[in-house]
């Protein structure tokens, strides 16, 4: 077993737990959570069973190359960056909603009297 086969699944598990907690605390939607859980579980499984999965994938796609590791690492880093970017966007989105709500409540309800 290689060292990355311990580190990568570890990161995957932590990320899956993080996403589930984000969902249960209301900070991510069901679809967002499912998307990231599937992505992180796939990365974890790919790290644990690289030969089995890459053999299957290469058979499926017709790609047979030793650059699999490089591609895999690139993909993992790319997703990690997207993951972080996504969190920042969510935070900004929430701030915008809070601002819109505060404006509406501070202005108070317009009372219509016509019927």
């Amino acid at each position: 077993m290689e060292i990355y086969q311990i580190i990568v699944p570890g990161i995957s598990i932590v990320s899956v737990i993080y996403m589930i907690r984000q969902n249960t605390s209301g900070n991510s939607t069901l679809f967002e959570t499912l998307f990231w859980v599937i992505i992180w579980l796939s990365i974890g499984l790919l790290a644990v069973f690289p030969d089995t999965i890459t053999y299957f994938m290469s058979s499926l796609l017709g790609i047979k190359s030793n650059v699999n590791t490089a591609i895999f690492m690139g993909l993992a880093i790319s997703i990690l960056i997207h993951f972080r970017t996504f969190a920042v966007i969510k935070k900004q989105n929430k701030a915008l909603t809070d601002l819109v709500r505060r404006l509406a409540l501070n202005q108070g309800p317009k009372q219509n009297t016509s019927s």
């Binding site: 249960t24 209301g26 939607t29 016509s114």
Partner: protein
């Protein structure tokens, strides 16, 4: 039960989140008024059609979002108003597109009070006469399974926005999700806070006008792929 309900109508705040509902919101408001409810709060979620003009014709309170933030955000704004207004004992959230029947409000409140519930959820699938498209049934089934796993409880019709809220429920549950996912969020948080939740059968109408709106399989899949597209191509 009816007398108790009549007595309490002034203590009930009806919250209607709307976005571009100029054709239907008037009908919802008039139906609610006909039932004897006077305290109606419409949260206009940045509509760009004639919704504001339509709302001016009715004796309602209107809170306006300057831009569209989603039905979850609009519902939370209504609930925040409820939290700050101590004169109301209960809040009812109902869609502004006539999918829900305002006629069910009385029955839901009666059941809420009779069973001493803290959150009452309208359940479209308990009413046998409802004709629900299979795509919505499938979407709801998937959402119910995921919501049940997240809340570690059996949750049915987690996507219904028709609810009766006690003050306790409104104080404990703050909605963070802007979109339709807020329904699952409410169910999950209600279970986390161990609130007494009951489900009451409600009728629902999916007419031609509103079939394309709201939560359905298409909306769910669209959300999913929009998300992927957004991440991959826009950042």
């Amino acid at each position: 039960m009816t007398s108790m309900l009549t007595m309490d109508k002034d203590a009930v705040l009806i919250i209607i989140p709307v976005y571009n509902e100029s054709k239907r919101v008037g009908q919802v408001i008039e139906s609610v008024i006909d039932l004897g409810f006077k305290n109606i709060l419409v949260v206009d979620d940045g509509s760009i059609d004639q919704t504001q003009k339509e709302l001016n014709k009715h004796p309602v309170m209107v809170l306006s979002h300057i831009i569209n933030r989603g039905v979850g955000a609009a519902t939370e704004t209504g609930l925040e108003f409820f939290r700050r207004s101590r004169q109301y004992l209960l809040a009812v959230t109902i869609d502004g597109d006539m999918q829900h029947s305002p006629e069910d409000i009385g029955h839901m409140i009666s059941q809420h009070m009779e069973q001493n519930a803290e959150l009452t959820m309208g359940n479209r699938f308990l009413q046998k006469s409802n004709s629900i498209p299979w795509t919505r049934k499938l979407y709801n089934l998937i959402a119910d399974i995921v919501t049940s796993i997240m809340s570690m409880s059996i949750v049915r019709d987690s996507q219904s926005g028709f609810k009766v809220w006690s003050r306790q429920a409104a104080v404990l549950i703050h909605i963070d999700q802007n979109g339709y996912e807020f329904c699952s969020e409410v169910a999950i948080k209600a279970h986390q806070h161990k609130l007494k939740i009951i489900q009451v059968p409600i009728s629902v109408t999916y007419n031609k006008d509103v079939k394309g709106k709201g939560q359905n399989l298409k909306e769910g899949v669209k959300t999913f792929f929009n998300l992927i597209h957004h991440f991959i191509f826009k950042h």
